[in-house]
């Protein structure tokens, strides 16, 4: 008999997510994912000055604000018809790169590691590291005192035969976790050197950036980058490999749809026609050129009564809370009617098959060699973690070159005047995948703003043909050993790095309120 399990709230993600799964004979047979929060940021943007958009949209997500800011300034450049100077393109890349590194490291250690590492192993620690001794004494004292909340916030957790058994490995994992807190802080510092502060930087503006790349900033950035790079190479990548070797099942669990897309991330020229992480698609095992006209959003299972199968340019959003059969506030974006996964795995696979960057291919080949798996094994829970770690290294390496290309005396901003009427789009890649921002300006004010974000692609419900979204497809077939402690589906979903705050956009649960978007 099938049993239904609800995991709500799914913690250690960004935002509020509910996962409902049906389990039969120890395996997930059906899965539904639902976003649980709405703020209406696109509505708030309306009637504001277009210049405000990059600062407001960063507040969509505090983990990866930079990508929303970046998508937004690309849209403003387009709408204002300005080309930012080279310095600005590079500084935007460097700041976004710093945010990627912060987000990827945070994701593996702070959000995912507790699904594998046994934190209670700290009680067996016998070494001399002062930080680890402190952690051990802290947990031990609370346990000895009989405190219910000993080890909070890391305990309580799902209990079962789920965690790494080797004490030394667990202690290494805890030590890496502590180090990761420090390293990701330095990623934020690195971004703030150009951005003013993090989260939510100050210097992303249409036409360029507001900061000047003085020599002291370049030096301070480079010094931190070098330390972060070492952590990625000596700790992050080896830790992902160590987990992969202990949990090889997860090279087959959570495979998902197997179709991938990238808008292209980190422009390498001013016309934005070349990227460090290339644009493209991988559908049914074949690469394809990207054509934005093939994107359509379906709503049969979404709480909207508006038209279905529309391109975002013509998108409508008419909410209907009580719509029969609907179970999500996310629409179902599809490319050429296909379900698409976005994110680091998509980018790495597309770059790998694209073969335009030798460094990326040799890095992926050497990782596959170490792991002893074929490239298609990357399409899995572990593959997503591995792709994220490899992408961190590719970025950190390239960021060092970008620093060399900065001109401390060069311009950072191209002056613009806000047009009375215009529209623009900004496509970019974020830590979690493809992100598009669309702006329409009327009478010098924002008349319409729309963002289609990575987790809308990945977390989408079934489309009109009844084909489940990427999260759902990845969950189906996932084994569940104990329905009271369903750690396996949580691991699968976390490998996507969901960001629900980003994913839920224009909705309203009152039937008499209608929001329409025509772009």
């Amino acid at each position: 008999m099938a049993e239904t399990i609800v995991i709500d709230p799914l913690t250690r993600i960004e935002g509020h997510l509910k996962i409902e799964i049906k389990v039969e004979n120890g395996k997930v047979v059906d899965a539904l994912s639902s976003g649980e929060m709405f703020r209406g940021i696109e509505i708030i943007l309306r009637d504001r000055s277009p210049e405000d958009a990059p600062m407001i949209v960063q507040r969509i997500c505090g983990v990866c604000p930079q990508v929303h800011g970046t998508g937004s300034v690309y849209a403003l450049d387009d709408a204002f018809k300005v080309t930012p100077p080279k310095n600005a393109r590079i500084i935007r890349n460097l700041m976004l790169g710093a945010n990627f590194l912060q987000s990827h490291i945070l994701h593996f250690y702070l959000l995912s590691a507790l699904d594998f590492v046994d934190i209670t192993a700290i009680l067996q620690y016998k070494g001399m590291d002062s930080k680890l001794i402190k952690v051990k004494e802290w947990v031990k004292a609370d346990i000895d005192a009989g405190k219910k909340d000993a080890g909070a916030p890391f305990l309580p957790r799902y209990e079962g035969d789920y965690y790494i058994k080797d004490t030394d490995l667990n202690i290494h994992g805890i030590s890496s976790y502590l180090k990761a807190i420090e390293i990701r802080r330095k990623c934020q510092e690195m971004l703030a050197i150009f951005g003013g502060k993090m989260p939510h930087c100050q210097t992303l503006v249409g036409g360029g950036v507001a900061c000047v790349p003085t020599l002291d900033k370049i030096i301070a950035f480079r010094s931190r980058l070098s330390e972060i790079k070492t952590f990625i190479e000596k700790t992050y990548i080896p830790d992902v490999i160590a987990v992969a070797k202990l949990y090889p099942d997860y090279f087959t669990i959570g495979k998902g749809v197997g179709n991938f897309m990238s808008y292209g991330g980190f422009p390498e020229n001013e016309t934005q026609s070349q990227w460090l992480l290339p644009q493209g698609l991988l559908i049914d095992g074949k690469t394809e050129k990207f054509n934005p006209d093939k994107i359509a959003e379906f709503v049969k299972y979404s709480r909207y009564s508006s038209g279905t199968g529309l391109n975002p340019y013509k998108g409508e959003t008419v909410p209907d809370y009580n719509k029969e059969g609907a179970y999500s506030w996310l629409k179902s974006p599809r490319y050429d009617n296909k379900v698409i996964e976005v994110g680091p795995l998509a980018r790495i696979l597309i770059a790998y098959l694209n073969k335009s960057n030798k460094d990326i291919n040799s890095l992926v080949d050497s990782a596959l060699n170490t792991l002893g798996v074929a490239p298609d094994a990357l399409i899995s829970t572990l593959g997503r973690h591995a792709a994220r770690a490899l992408e961190a290294k590719i970025l950190a390496d390239r960021m060092e070159n970008w620093l060399d290309d900065l001109d401390p005396n060069g311009p950072v901003h191209t002056k613009y005047t806000v047009p009375k009427k215009s529209k623009g789009k900004g496509l970019t890649e974020g830590p979690r995948g493809s992100l598009g921002h669309w702006i329409t300006i009327d009478n010098y004010r924002i008349s319409n703003y729309q963002a289609v974000v990575p987790t809308t692609w990945n977390g989408s419900p079934k489309d009109d043909n009844g084909v489940p979204g990427p999260f759902e497809q990845a969950l189906i077939g996932t084994p569940v050993a104990d329905i009271k402690n369903p750690i396996e589906p949580a691991r699968v979903i976390r490998s996507f790095d969901p960001c629900l705050a980003c994913a839920v956009h224009v909705i309203d649960v009152e039937e008499n309120k209608i929001y329409k978007f025509k772009l």
């Binding site: 709500d8 929060m37 000055s49 210049e51 405000d52 510092e189 993090m198 100050q202 507001a210 901003h413």
Partner: protein, 376 residues
């Protein structure tokens, strides 16, 4: 999670007690938490409403003390979705236990605003008996059980981004929902980690910090913490040198800087381990610690503050006090020199005593410049 109806009612029908903002609650809380002579840890339940997770991310950015030191030595973090080990029912169980078994023994920290439209259904957290529970219900139940409440970040303190016009979800600040408990406000989008950690350490070691009339700790947001008065670009303002485009040298006033009407110590503290701060970076202050953030449709981030006199352009009017001490007649950079700087300092000292009332004036200026927020 399945629980009995009795327990359900017990969790979600906490009575509203009388409210007095005083230090009286603190000894009880500290005693319950086993804190003696400032030694021990504050139990914290960190609940998230309509948020972006920027507040917990900023909290984890703390340098001295480091995040792990805070977790080990300052607080017991019972619940914080962004980093906690438990998920699903394991997480909901913790909230349930705090509400029923730990009455008066913990501090409730909240980031994010609380939507009240559509019965609060714009933000749901967890299920009980197969029914989604709204953030509003959780906060009512948790705050009723908590010893004290701390609102973290501008969404929780004033409503912030979700409450900006037209406030689509009728998002509320914590102080609009919690009426029976003192609410300490730590604004900022996000707040500096030192403001969060500093306030908690102060409560633990020395009691409640002195608060201003908006319940903000004056050590971080006091009347002497006006961004404009402590800005390193102040010399440009005094000399009448204004940046006309991004990346230019000069005071950022013409680019929309809200420093003259914003309270926080970012100019002297610096962000992200002190590597930079807003105006130093070249991106003008957005006024993110103020109730007026992010403003209505009438006051863009890059639109000049209204009703502020600029040096050299006309006589100083009463409002000029609110943006510090404007220098009459000093238009060009060349005029600015030591003598003038000294004159400014003297004048500044003289006017400092007037500052408190000036701060209120400045708030009024800001308020007038914004459309009133809906649903506040």
């Amino acid at each position: 999670m399945l629980i009995t109806r009795k327990k359900f009612l017990q969790i979600f029908s906490g009575s509203i007690a009388g409210f007095a903002l005083s230090n009286l609650w603190l000894p009880k809380l500290l005693q319950a938490a086993n804190v003696k002579n400032g030694k021990g840890r504050l139990p914290i339940v960190w609940f998230q409403g309509q948020n972006c997770s920027g507040c917990p991310v900023s909290f984890v950015n703390t340098e001295y003390p480091s995040a792990d030191e805070v977790l080990i030595e300052v607080i017991t973090l019972e619940y914080l979705p962004t980093i906690m080990g438990g998920t699903g029912d394991v997480a909901v169980d913790i909230l349930e236990r705090m509400i029923t078994d730990e009455k008066g023994k913990f501090i409730l920290a909240i980031d994010g605003s609380i939507p009240v439209d559509s019965d609060g259904n714009y933000c749901n957290v967890g299920e009980i008996n197969g029914k989604s529970i709204t953030a509003l219900k959780w906060i009512q139940a948790l705050s009723s059980a908590a010893g004290a409440v701390v609102a973290i970040g501008t969404c929780a303190t004033w409503g912030g981004i979700p409450a900006a016009p037209p406030n689509p979800t009728k998002a509320k600040a914590v102080r609009d929902i919690v009426k029976d408990k003192p609410v300490i406000n730590i604004p900022g989008c996000p707040p500096h980690p030192d403001w969060i950690v500093g306030t908690l350490v102060h409560v633990l070691k020395y009691g409640i910090p002195t608060l201003d009339d908006l319940n903000r700790p004056v050590i971080f947001f006091g009347p002497d913490k006006i961004v404009h008065d402590n800005c390193e670009l102040r010399q440009y303002f005094d000399a009448g040198i204004f940046a006309k485009d991004f990346g230019q040298k000069g005071c950022l006033y013409e680019l929309g800087c809200k420093g003259p009407v914003t309270h926080c110590d970012a100019p002297v503290r610096g962000w992200n381990s002190g590597v930079n701060w807003c105006n130093r970076s070249g991106g003008p202050c957005l006024g993110c610690t103020e109730p007026t953030f992010p403003g209505g449709t009438g006051s863009g981030f890059y639109e000049k503050l209204p009703a502020v006199q600029v040096p050299g352009l006309s006589e100083i009017n009463a409002n000029a006090n609110t943006i510090g001490i404007a220098l009459g007649g000093a238009v060009g950079a060349a005029i600015a020199g030591h003598a003038i700087a000294r004159a400014v300092s003297a004048k500044k000292l003289k006017q400092k005593s007037k500052q408190n009332s000036d701060v209120e004036n400045s708030d009024k200026v800001m308020e007038q410049s914004n459309t009133q927020k809906e649903g506040k």
